[in-house]
């Protein structure tokens, strides 16, 4: 026993976690006939039998990349990608960019952000501790605390309660931290790709809470999940959301892009809080505690705070250029620039593009329709002259607030919505 624990302590890696602790189904769900991943974990060669490279990535992500994590990550991010036939939606994407290998933090390649819906295998990955190392065979969600009756719901019961489908953009609060010019900085050094959009299917949190019946004391909802730190007295990641958000458009999702949510993305159950930075969208949700006060957890009270003490909540107005890519060579003349723009608490009203470093701007076209909580795809036809060009994209929300050229820095590196700048060569 001690040897086993020692081995886990020594090599603990949620990605490469051994099979004994994890039993999950091939499709990423956990409440059906169990399928041990031990074969994959122990036989790296077997992974290659899953299918062609693109399928590999999908399959492995569906598996949550828990097994054969080394190989999965390598294939996902490395050599398999170069030779892979890009799926139709990914526009020659080159794989996730790892910022932290354990727990896995990886951002989307900007080329993968060209489409409205980000394929799950290119959706950014972030958690403090990695996926849970022990999964129950039958996942349940318990609602307790300031309620009239404690309820425990199975995945099946939740699925039967509804299938609200909604595209929601999630952005890590630290997205762009690596681009802040901070003399010293803590945390994952994200560049621009810790943002993605998926179509989530689930049930409004309000409907689930109604089952339990809230008391008037229920003012904050503590979201407890199955993940935990590998060791020590590290606090759990346990954030809360206020009542108006819980009874607003927060929902509990069980599908991502019409598939069961991959383990790495918080499956089988993930809270989705539209408009808020991603840390509010708790992965691996197991309990909702209805409480009278805000969570006093480290990641509420100390983490995710701006310097003035105010909490990090909704996303800031921001845009990202998905094409052209930095350093790309293009021909002089007409060029289409495109990307995404989003905001947490309103809607995107305009995106302007500059090809001369911000001296002159022209309006981009906004594609599709307004979907609150989701980004807006945009494109602009511009003309570039021979030499080098600095392309900028600036989003403006419905209150007229535009992205700043340089966002105010803060020690935590949160909310960097500086205008994205892409330098290209024009031949």
């Amino acid at each position: 026993m001690v040897l086993v624990l020692l081995n886990i302590a020594l090599t603990h890696d949620p990605l490469a976690e051994s099979s004994q602790e994890i039993i999950l189904m091939r499709d990423g769900t956990h409440d059906g006939p169990p399928r041990t991943t031990s074969a994959l974990a122990r036989h790296p060669e077997d992974v290659r039998r899953v299918g062609p490279p693109v399928l590999d990535r999908r399959e492995l992500l569906a598996l949550g990349m828990t097994a054969a994590g080394a190989l999965a990550a390598r294939r996902l991010l490395g050599q398999s990608v170069g030779g892979a036939q890009p799926s139709s939606a990914t526009r020659a994407a080159s794989g996730l960019v790892i910022r932290n290998a354990r727990a896995l933090d990886a951002e989307a390649p900007l080329s993968a952000l060209a489409t409205f819906e980000t394929p799950s295998e290119h959706f950014f990955v972030r958690s403090h501790f990695g996926p849970p190392t022990q999964l129950p065979l039958a996942w349940t969600l318990a609602i307790d605390g300031q309620v009239q009756r404690r309820v425990t719901l199975t995945l099946d019961e939740i699925r039967k309660m509804g299938a609200q489908k909604r595209a929601v953009t999630l952005e890590c609060a630290g997205n762009g931290r690596g681009a802040f010019r901070l003399p010293k900085t803590s945390g994952v050094q994200w560049e621009y790709g810790a943002v993605s959009t998926a179509t989530w299917t689930g049930v409004p949190l309000a409907a689930l809470l109604e089952r339990a019946g809230l008391t008037s004391q229920a003012r904050h909802f503590w979201m407890e999940a199955a993940d935990h730190a590998p060791a020590g007295s590290v606090p759990k990641f346990l954030r809360s959301i206020p009542r108006e958000v819980a009874l607003g458009d927060a929902f509990v999702a069980y599908a991502m892009n019409d598939r069961p949510i991959p383990l790495l993305h918080g499956g089988p159950l993930r809270l989705i809080v539209p408009g808020w930075f991603g840390m509010a969208s708790t992965k691996w949700l197991t309990h909702v505690h209805a409480m009278s006060a805000e969570s006093d957890n480290y990641f509420m009270a100390r983490g995710y705070r701006y310097p003035d003490g105010s909490p990090v909540t909704t996303m800031r107005t921001k845009s990202v250029i998905a094409a052209p890519l930095a350093g790309q060579r293009v021909s002089a003349g007409r060029l289409t620039v495109h990307g995404q723009a989003w905001t947490g608490s309103g809607i995107i009203r305009a995106v302007d593009v500059s090809v001369d470093g911000g001296r002159t701007w022209s309006a981009a076209r906004l594609a599709g329709t307004v979907q609150p909580g989701a980004w807006r795809t945009w494109d602009a036809d511009v003309v570039v002259q021979r030499g080098s060009a600095l392309i900028l994209a600036r989003a403006t929300d419905d209150k007229g607030v535009a992205q700043p050229m340089q966002a105010t820095q803060n020690p935590g590196g949160y909310g960097n919505n500086s205008i994205h700048q892409v330098s290209i060569h024009v031949a």
């Binding site: 302590a9 020594l10 090599t11 890696d13 490469a16 080394a70 990550a73 390598r74 590998p230």
Partner: protein, 186 residues
């Protein structure tokens, strides 16, 4: 969980980690040639082979190549003798790397040799990858704060080791001057 529960967990962890550290450091000398003793059973040969090839031929990893330059391609074992002379970190113990992802093994090489190197392997990397360290840059006060937080959370660092650890982190991952970009502008 009760406070006592946490305390007892933390104690257990400290004991385990101390044993782990001993194992890691022990193996660092006895088993530094990349052989894979961490795996048991009939699969070990195959798995070790896969690991060895992962080390010998690291795939392109955009995260590392963009942030740290192209990773070296030699095997850890091959560079070991020259490494010592050049001040490059010795290959990490196989017990530590046997189940690490290829990316994490590449990340390990960004931890330079020197006083405190083994301490980092034994204390920090039980919980997280080297990238968590190598991508951050702090002054002494900043690293002190981080290390103190980690110790409070159960990192198995003895009081007398703390200064060595902080000195290592500051020496190799110091804060950049204010206004200096984290990396070249895109």
């Amino acid at each position: 969980m009760s406070r006592d529960g946490w305390t007892s967990m933390a104690m257990t962890w400290r004991l385990l980690s101390a044993a782990t550290a001993a194992a890691v450091l022990g193996c660092a000398r006895g088993d530094a040639n990349g052989s894979n003793t961490g795996r048991a059973g009939a699969d070990s040969g195959r798995a070790a082979g896969a690991q060895a090839s992962a080390v010998a031929d690291p795939p392109p990893t955009p995260g590392f190549t963009s942030a740290r330059g192209t990773p070296p391609t030699q095997t850890a074992a091959a560079v070991a003798p020259a490494a010592a002379a050049a001040g490059i970190a010795p290959p990490p113990p196989a017990t530590l790397t046997s189940r690490m992802s290829a990316e994490e093994q590449v990340a390990l090489r960004a931890l330079p040799a020197g006083p405190g190197h083994e301490l980092v392997l034994a204390t920090c990397l039980t919980c997280h990858a080297a990238t968590m360290i190598t991508q951050q840059h702090k002054d002494t006060a900043g690293w002190n704060k981080t290390v103190a937080q980690m110790i409070a959370w159960g990192a198995p660092v003895a009081k007398e080791q703390q200064a060595t650890l902080v000195a290592y982190l500051f020496e190799h991952f110091p804060a950049r001057a204010a206004g200096e970009p984290a990396r070249p502008a895109p």
